[in-house]
């Protein structure tokens, strides 16, 4: 996942690398997503996630498009 200053730079990067455009999120949205995804990563109790837990995080983060299908 790479950081870009604008949509134009993303298009240029995709074109240059002959890749289809993926999903684009604002940095604010990614911060909210990061907190949901990583908040317990250093805990001894964290043993990975099952599909239902991943789906729930995506739901809480508002990531509901086909791109995020588990």
């Amino acid at each position: 996942m790479l950081l870009f200053r604008s949509e134009e730079w993303i298009d240029k990067w995709c074109q240059r690398n002959n890749l289809e455009r993926g999903e684009v999120l604002t940095i604010q949205k990614v911060w909210e997503f990061s907190r949901l995804w990583y908040h317990n990563r250093l805990s001894l109790e964290y043993h990975g996630r099952n599909i239902e837990q991943v789906v729930e995080i995506f739901r809480q983060a508002g990531l509901m498009s086909k791109f995020w299908y588990v």
């Binding site: 790479l2 870009f4 991943v54």
Partner: protein
């Protein structure tokens, strides 16, 4: 101690070591910490790699397993540098650079390079809020974007690319 229980203790040790030292523990450091053989430690690392808890980068010597990623931390330098708790970490990607303060529950200053434009940006995470600390072009943080090139179902196809 049951093997399954120790497996997750090893995972926790890897993360605690990364957080404390900004680098992952070697196999021999893990073996010494848990008072187990190098071979046992190596097997735990491989098991954690298989379950996507860490990502190993094996060099030509199979005995020299090295942790490349323990998300959000990177063992190799990247364009995503995170200063937190008086230490400097590298994150694997633009998502993970925010994952570091999220995982550490800390404030942070992040230095990152924008792809294609090569612009360096500095972000500040403070009291749970994120902001851009400086911008020559007077742009706002809302214009910074993260591109996820692959759908979630393909993230593990090629983790370095992802």
């Amino acid at each position: 101690m049951a093997k399954e229980s120790l497996l997750w203790q090893v995972r926790h040790f890897v993360y605690a070591h990364f957080a404390e030292n900004t680098r992952p523990p070697s196999v021999d450091e893990a073996a010494a910490h848990f008072d187990i053989s190098m071979e046992e430690a190596r097997e735990y690392y491989k098991e954690l790699h298989k379950s996507h808890a860490i990502f190993l980068e094996a060099d030509k010597d199979i005995n020299n397993l090295a942790i490349r990623m323990a998300w959000p931390f990177s063992a190799v330098p990247t364009d995503f540098k995170v200063h937190a708790n008086g230490k400097t970490y590298f994150a694997n990607c633009a998502w993970d650079m925010l994952g570091v303060p999220a995982a550490l529950h800390s404030d942070a200053v992040i230095e990152a390079v924008c792809t294609e434009s090569n612009e360096t940006v500095q972000l500040v995470v403070k009291n749970g809020q994120i902001m851009e600390s400086r911008s020559k072009a007077k742009r706002t943080i809302h214009q910074l974007l993260v591109h996820f090139p692959l759908p979630f179902s393909r993230w593990y196809d090629d983790l370095v690319f992802t």
